[in-house]
Symmetry: C2
Subunit: 341 residues, 2 copies
DNA sequence: CATGCTAAGTTAAACGTTTAACTAAACGCT
DNA sequence: AGCGTTTAGTTAAACGTTTAACTTAGCATG
């Protein structure tokens, strides 16, 4: 049979379609005997309930929307791709489908919303990374749960899964201090981005806690987009200004790679002359020379965590406001070294 | 009203629900007058037909499955991500939703199929990149159209959108020959991959057409996965074997980047000592120094093309077997230079 | 032995559309 | 006037589920 329906199963099992439905849901009203009989036939016919029919009566789509900006999705480091994979995996576990859509990074308040929102074809929304505020504001009257991952503009209102960026910043900076470095530069972009701001705060915390003096001159946060080219530019400014820098903490791996490029081009050896540590752990397979020390972010886990939260809310029909902090981990590779006196 | 249905619209417009439906489909049986009236109310109530209800009666899900392997999806260069974006865009145009799922690169014949296939929750399938044969074989009795992008294992059976790899290989190699190079190496991985094989064939064609002699010694296809590290390794083998190489054609940008790394590490200047050209054009924003000449592949366009084909098949209910060749384009940047005698 | 309870189902309405088949009015022709 | 055709709708069945309300038989209880 092409597409067996519940009727086919019912007829073959000599029961009503209601019974089949109850068997599918493992309802206790049905005897084990009947269950076994029906289950066998379901198996035999390869019956799967129609998502449309089910959705119609349940008034649920069974879909979760996953939104991020186009430039995040297309960026070279597969950061959000990993998050998506985590979400997709966990969605599978919970029998949800994921509808992935990008929104323009410069979404305007008059732009159309993703179709699945207009058509109410999602039961919930997971938003990954920084998305434009006009977009979020358009969502204010949404009736379904919304969860943010790696970004949280209105944290009173929505649940979110965030990286422990402050901790990560502290970890990276303390690691460099531990290694004897005194002049530790910070490279960052888009300081309005909460993640980058927090990483910088972690940096400052660690510097202060250690008794070192905070030197604003070796904090470069002039760039906007935290990518390779801008990492290169930031490093250039930094080293032209101050030759005595012996370590760099870059707000992410992408900028770190750019900075490394600058150092290589200018005869600054890593880690002999200068140590550098990144954040995110996205370039491990990239044959970056030397291997980049970094702060690992559990990307997949963040995706699964968001989906778990979502599934929980949907199952219990609650709209809670939970904040999950994903743990970070210091990864020491070859780009950081104890300072040689 | 929370979720207006066709009934709400009908009641408010004083027409039957059938009329509303016909208006939505712009059926010519309805007078312009009535259409205007109903349309105004649809607008006012912000009515959108329920995908579930519609899908139920049409016996269509309105969804298209998009499948690729996990390692392709997670690879550093956003090649397939661009293809997906193209597909997603065109899906939007045609009012389809995309369900993205990865399959394991080592999918076994007994592994479960993606859920949307079991539940018949897709009207068609787009498969991007090389996916395991066991997976494809499990699809043999599928009743929905399947389209391959950038891969085509059973090209008699399925439609596909392919890169004109032979042409691209010729273009890249001819470009180097044109620039006076005589000793042009080829770097490739996984020669079983049709794309890589064709790029190599293009290389061979161009060499032969030019009257140069084909030298198998400077063709390195020992590596498996065509990534950076392996590009580095391949370049190492090549240059240790033959110092006289003045140009390299890498089967893709990722391996080219690895090869560039090797050359830099070993004092081979680009392009002064050696020219190099890649394929795919995925590193343009990466601050690779020098900027990499390459063969551009219209990634987004391939995605849209696949979705256009799919929409066409689905609308006309035909199962055609079409092969689309996406055009390639030579991009000359700074990594290739006319040879200096 | 009438009564209530439990176990194991079944019946039927509802979910929100689409569309074939029907209707009713208006018009044109002979 | 009678008939056919066109126009502009309406009616009602169908799509494949879920689930509240109902049924029926068997059993225990006072």
């Amino acid at each position: 049979m092409a597409n067996p329906t519940i009727k086919d199963v019912a007829k073959m099992a000599n029961v009503s379609i209601a019974t089949v439905s109850l068997v599918v849901h493992n309802h206790r009203r049905i005897s084990q005997e009947t269950k076994d009989k029906v289950l066998a036939i379901i198996e035999k016919l390869n019956y799967h309930p129609s998502p449309n029919a089910r959705g119609l009566v349940r008034r649920k789509s069974g879909n979760i929307g996953f939104v991020l900006t186009d430039d995040h999705f297309l960026r070279t480091e597969p950061f959000y791709t990993h998050i998506f994979m985590g979400t997709e995996f966990e969605a599978h576990e919970n029998e949800f489908y994921i509808l992935l859509t990008t929104v323009a990074a410069k979404f305007k308040i008059t732009d159309p919303l993703p179709r699945f929102i207009l058509e109410r074809n999602v039961d919930g929304l997971i938003i990954a990374g920084k998305v434009p505020l006009p977009f979020i504001n358009r969502l204010s009257k949404a009736t379904f749960p919304i969860i943010f991952v790696d970004y949280s503009p209105y944290d009173k209102k929505y649940s979110c899964v965030l990286v422990d960026n402050i901790k990560g910043g502290e970890l990276a900076t303390s690691h460099l201090i531990e290694y004897g470095h005194k002049k530790i530069a910070f490279i960052g972009g888009d300081i309005e981005h909460p993640s980058i701001k927090d990483r910088l705060n972690g940096y400052k915390n660690a510097i202060e806690k250690s008794g070192l003096e905070l030197d604003e001159n070796i904090i470069d946060i002039k760039e906007d987009y935290p990518g390779r080219t801008n990492g290169y530019n930031a490093a250039e400014r930094l080293f032209k200004k101050d030759k005595a820098i012996t370590a760099v903490f870059s707000c992410n791996d992408a900028m770190a790679v750019g900075a490394i490029q600058y150092m290589k081009d200018n005869g600054i050896r890593i880690p002999e002359d200068c140590s550098i540590i990144g954040f995110d752990d996205v370039v491990s397979d990239n044959a970056i020379e030397p291997a980049l020390s970094t702060v690992r972010v559990p990307k997949m886990e963040m995706g699964t965590e968001a989906m778990k939260l979502m599934a929980h809310m949907l199952k219990n029909n609650t709209k809670e406001n939970k904040k999950v902090l994903a743990p970070v981990e210091l990864i020491i590779r070859e780009s950081t070294r104890r300072i040689c006196l």
